[in-house]
């Protein structure tokens, strides 16, 4: 069966977890990442019949990034009340401390620059692809990347100082 829903179901199965990881890199919270990814997929479903096949991944990245930035612009309008605590993962591997410091520093970067850094380096997109995703020029991506890296570096070393104090 290859109807609209079945085709979307296959796309959802193949892409949801990856989208959630990108969202997590942007927002730093698994429950929020889940919500961002879910919202992005709901929006994609509503336009699924019109999305061009060859650009479906690019469209997903655009929707996901916009949902994240919209969330940041609006702020959290309401706190989500959950019956159970969301699943968490124990950080037991050797690199976890460094990753936590890196994640903490990344969250200190302004959302727009953070989105650029995540798309550029975590999602491993080219400057041109990031520009397409965000609907801006490659020059803007380069400048936002430079500013984002500077902010990340500052926040990371600030954390180092704090941790060492």
């Amino acid at each position: 069966m290859r109807g609209r829903d079945q085709e979307f179901a296959e796309f959802f199965s193949a892409r949801f977890d990856g989208a959630r990881r990108i969202a997590f890199a942007m927002c730093g919270s698994w429950p929020d990442a889940e919500e961002i990814a879910q919202t992005a997929f709901v929006k994609m479903y509503a336009r699924w019949a019109k999305v061009r096949i060859e650009t479906v991944d690019a469209y997903l990245r655009t929707v996901l990034t916009r949902v994240f930035l919209d969330t940041k612009r609006r702020g959290r309008a309401r706190e989500q009340v959950v019956a159970e605590l969301p699943d968490t993962v124990a950080h037991a591997d050797a690199g976890s401390d460094e990753r936590m410091a890196l994640r903490s520093a990344l969250l200190a970067v302004p959302p727009g620059q953070r989105a650029v850094l995540v798309l550029r380096f975590v999602a491993d997109l080219s400057v041109e692809q990031v520009a397409d995703t965000l609907g801006c020029s490659t020059g803007t991506v380069k400048s936002q990347t430079a500013r984002g890296l500077a902010a990340l570096r500052t926040a990371y070393h600030q954390d180092d100082v704090n941790l060492g104090a």
Binding site: F11, Q38, R52, V56, L106, F121
Partner: protein, 312 residues
């Protein structure tokens, strides 16, 4: 650290190594919310059209002098002007619409009407997704572009009389949309106000043609049971009702299940490449459309039959 792009990339990519909690969002959650969103969009669109039509209608009634109520014709009665000075307007004929509303596909000669299983229900204008849950097998049959595309172009040309223009052709062993082999070709045919498209999608499947066709009863349209025809070689054709969810962009699907494990979906679409509008992310969407289909049920069925024959 982070002094250059490569150092930043190395550091930030370690974030992907972080273990993640299990996904809690189910497909059903997304489909339910997605359908609700589609329904709301559709309701808003219809309400807007109704409001505009109502406003135009009200304006027309108020501005037509011949239709003024008697109580308004005070000046006319004082000058004793006869009513023949203003002959009554003739109402133009109501234009007939070519965009027929959604309904069951007509049962063509040689075709049979299927019945929808009782467990299939309509939700938000679409059928509830049935649990087919059979992932495509990347090792199953995937027809070469050179065998399918010419057969399709010829089938459309033979049926509609003109050689169509190939608007797009894309054959991928691992499609980004399905994560499996997928071939796609779209040809354009002239319509009033622009072109329409006949699109063909090719995928492998596992199972028998009848099993797959049964599973796909609710795959397209507005939950009306499709019509079916079984060819002598066991190929199953399944013709769905046209989907008028967006009245500007109707489309109608016909599925073909071949015994060798190849599924072909022929879609008649009331839009063309010229209606594609770029959107963020390098993608594009469809704006506008013909408001009609480029083919009748019989023509779509004939294209499918000719396609099977041309593929040999």
């Amino acid at each position: 650290m982070f002094d250059d792009d490569s150092a930043a990339r190395r550091a930030l990519r370690t974030l992907n190594d972080e273990p993640a909690p299990p996904v809690s969002t189910s497909l059903d959650d997304v489909l339910r919310k997605g359908r609700r969103r589609v329904f709301v969009q559709r309701a808003v669109s219809v309400a807007g059209v109704v409001a505009v039509v109502a406003a135009i209608g009200a304006g027309a009634v108020l501005l037509r002098p011949g239709d003024q109520p008697d109580g308004v014709r005070v000046a006319e009665s004082t000058t004793e002007t006869t009513a023949t000075a203003n002959p009554p307007e003739t109402t133009p004929d109501t234009p007939t619409s070519t965009s027929a509303p959604a309904g069951p596909a007509h049962v063509l000669p040689g075709w049979q009407q299927t019945t929808m299983p009782p467990d299939v229900v309509e939700s938000g204008g679409y059928c509830q997704l049935r649990d087919t849950a059979e992932p495509p097998n990347p090792n199953s049959v995937f027809l070469a572009e050179g065998r399918v595309k010419p057969a399709f172009v010829d089938a459309v040309g033979e049926t509609l009389g003109d050689v169509p223009t190939v608007a797009m052709s894309d054959w991928q062993v691992n499609s980004g949309k399905t994560g499996a082999p997928r071939g796609y070709v779209a040809v354009e045919v002239p319509m009033v106000g622009g072109n329409g498209q006949l699109q063909l999608e090719v995928d492998p499947y596992i199972g028998t043609p009848t099993e797959m066709a049964d599973l796909a009863l609710a795959a397209y349209g507005n939950c009306e049971p499709p019509a079916r025809r079984v060819l002598d070689d066991g190929t199953v054709l399944q013709l769905y009702a046209a989907d008028w969810f967006n009245p500007e962009q109707p489309h109608q699907a016909l599925q073909i299940y071949q015994p060798e494990g190849v599924q072909l979906v022929v879609t008649s679409a009331g839009w063309s490449e010229a209606d594609m509008v770029p959107i963020g992310g390098g993608g594009s969407t469809i704006e506008g459309g013909r408001g009609a289909l480029p083919t009748t049920d019989a023509e779509l069925a004939e294209i499918a039959r000719a396609l099977v024959q041309n593929m040999g």
